[in-house]
């Protein structure tokens, strides 16, 4: 039913439809597993859809092809959105998503590259994906290879110091083949990022470290596509895309609420959320 293996044409209305499918499924996954991170899943969905169906040069039939673009999901706790996106893109069967976090499933709460095709890095503890992305981008530079590396981080995640080590080294090594996308929804587990530990002025911080920075609406497919398709922004500088997002995007009662970081929807909440996300009602 869901076979979009050849859907990487970046067609915008198509992206909107795919994103709704992923949002609905990720919420069902969290509801079934009674565990997960729906706020971040919904926040990151439009970024993931834009990448996998319009930007990344990847082939689900050859997930370890040496010349593939690398996408590293540093915010590994948003595995619901990542798995639904990978399945929809054809990396593994859509039907397998019902196994999310079930015993012996390869759909662990956090992604595992040794078991699941399409996963580039085992993430979960925050601040790990960014250094790995720097290493991947360096590998391409050393080998003069044309493939690109993208990494998606949460915003609260940037409180981990390892990211700033990575930010320094990417600029030092002039990795203009590396793009970090910050899912800037402004909320972390406990509260607003600016209340817990201030991140702003975030664009200026990246610029001060030597990065070329663009800010976009992280739910605007056209803006995301145009921006992510325009790298390198400046030759010799790594690319930072600060995607302004809404945590819980697409469901009115989940949007912009810290308590939905890892809240599991009840049956009633799931039904209401699916309706808002355009689920067809059958008589």
């Amino acid at each position: 039913m869901h076979n979009y293996a050849n859907a990487g044409d970046g067609n915008l209305p198509n992206l909107r439809e795919l994103a709704s499918t992923i949002r609905r499924e990720s919420l069902r996954m969290v509801h079934r597993a009674k565990l997960g991170h729906p706020g971040g899943d919904l926040s990151a969905t439009d970024i993931l859809v834009t990448l996998y169906f319009g930007v990344l040069r990847v082939d689900p039939a050859q997930p370890r092809s040496p010349d593939r673009d690398r996408f590293i999901m540093s915010k590994g706790h948003c595995s619901g959105a990542l798995y639904a996106t990978l399945a929809l893109r054809g990396f593994f069967p859509w039907e397998e998503l019902v196994d999310y976090m079930q015993p012996l499933s390869r759909l662990n709460g956090h992604p595992n590259r040794t078991e699941l095709p399409g996963v580039e890095a085992n993430t979960g503890p925050l601040g790990h994906g960014f250094p790995i992305a720097v290493g991947a981008a360096l590998a391409a530079k050393i080998g003069s290879a044309p493939w690109r590396t993208f990494v998606l981080t949460g915003d609260g995640e940037l409180q981990e110091g390892s990211n700033w080590e990575a930010i320094m080294s990417a600029a030092h090594y002039q990795l203009d083949n590396l793009t970090v996308i910050v899912d800037r929804n402004g909320i972390q587990q406990g509260d607003r990022t600016e209340t817990i530990m201030r991140l702003d002025p975030l664009p200026e911080k990246f610029r001060a470290f030597g990065w070329a920075v663009r800010e976009v609406d992280g739910h605007d497919y056209e803006a995301l596509s145009n921006t992510l398709g325009a790298t390198p922004f400046e030759s010799g500088r790594p690319n930072c895309v600060i995607a302004r997002t809404t945590k819980g995007k697409g469901v009115s009662f989940i949007e912009d609420r810290a308590e939905w970081h890892h809240h599991v929807p009840s049956d009633k909440e799931l039904a209401a959320a699916l309706l808002e996300l355009g689920e067809e009602v059958h008589g």
């Binding site: 040794t114 890095a121 085992n122 993430t123 790990h128 290493g135 050393i142 080998g143 390892s162 990575a166």
Partner: protein, 315 residues
């Protein structure tokens, strides 16, 4: 006087050879160019020498990313910082991910003697061998160091090489062949087995000579491969000699002695002594002085073996 060697020379020379043969080989360091002896590597292969600065977490992550991109990274730094600062990256980015990363912990154990306990690395064997998927090697001499570097490069998966700067004599002949998970018997014996690794192997051999004068026949085993462990060599020793003394430049908790005891306690219990550094932060002193202080000497090993056998030191 027996000639002694700084195994970092063998390490660096081998890595240069490998890099000349295989363009996938990359060195990653945390500004530790001199202490890794990789200055010549840098001169010969500047494009394959990645200095991330003083940033160990990033260093290990960068290593995992380089491996993802098809390289064979040797990630090198003082073992105290590499393992202590970046342990979660070692666990997740290297081991759990089965990334083809070679972690090289330089100047392990008490090598930085006078710099103090901040720079001693006497927990690294315990930390790393507790991590699944991670091969842990502690070479004993230049020959074994060179071979371990080559084997690590050929092996597809994460490896931790625990290296030292403290000079050691050669303990293996030119025909010795290192294999992951195989512990060579360096001297046969029937009364007690001395199991050591790294800098302690030559001391165990000297202790065996002293013990022979006491009429005690000591077997000596080099347990350079800590993970996977050579279970058969341990059980052979336990059954044949009925007594084991382990010797390591490491805490007595969770390292070589612990690994051996886990095998004997469950499969062939025999009397044991575990020699190493007790649960203490070492006082100020050179590595050699600290070896004396903690009785990690041929005489110290001899005494422990004789006590274990219920005999008395002949003096």
């Amino acid at each position: 006087m027996v000639e002694k060697f700084d195994c970092r020379e063998a390490f660096a020379a081998t890595l240069e050879d490998l890099a000349a043969q295989d363009e996938r080989v990359v060195a990653v360091v945390n500004d530790a160019v001199g202490s890794t002896k990789l200055g010549k590597f840098y001169k010969r292969f500047p494009c394959r020498f990645v200095n991330v600065g003083i940033a160990e977490q990033n260093m290990v992550g960068v290593g995992a990313g380089l491996a993802n991109g098809g390289k064979i990274p040797f990630v090198c730094g003082a073992s105290c910082f590499l393992t202590g600062r970046a342990l979660e990256q070692i666990k997740v980015d290297a081991a759990y991910s089965r990334a083809n990363v070679k972690l090289c912990g330089m100047s392990s154990g008490l090598a930085y003697g006078q710099l103090g306990p901040t720079h001693h690395s006497i927990e690294d064997m315990a930390w790393t061998r507790a991590i699944a998927n991670l091969t842990v090697i502690v070479p004993a001499d230049p020959n074994e160091t060179a071979q371990a570097v080559r084997v690590a490069a050929e092996y597809d998966g994460p490896v931790f090489l625990r290296l030292s700067r403290t000079p050691v004599p050669e303990v293996h002949g030119p025909d010795y062949r290192f294999h992951i998970g195989v512990a060579p018997v360096l001297r046969q014996g029937t009364d007690v087995t001395l199991i050591a690794n790294g800098t302690m192997v030559s001391r165990a051999l000297e202790a065996a000579t002293l013990l022979a004068a006491d009429g005690v026949s000591a077997r000596v085993v080099n347990m350079s491969s800590i993970q996977p462990l050579d279970r058969d060599a341990i059980l052979d020793a336990a059954e044949a000699t009925r007594a084991i003394v382990t010797v390591e430049e490491h805490s007595i908790h969770g390292g070589l002695g612990g690994a051996v005891a886990e095998v004997t306690a469950t499969a062939c219990p025999v009397p044991m002594r575990i020699l190493g550094i007790p649960a203490t932060f070492a006082p100020t002193g050179t590595a050699e002085w600290l070896f004396e202080y903690f009785e990690l000497t041929p005489q110290g090993i001899q005494t422990a073996a004789l006590q274990l056998l219920g005999a008395r030191v002949q003096q």
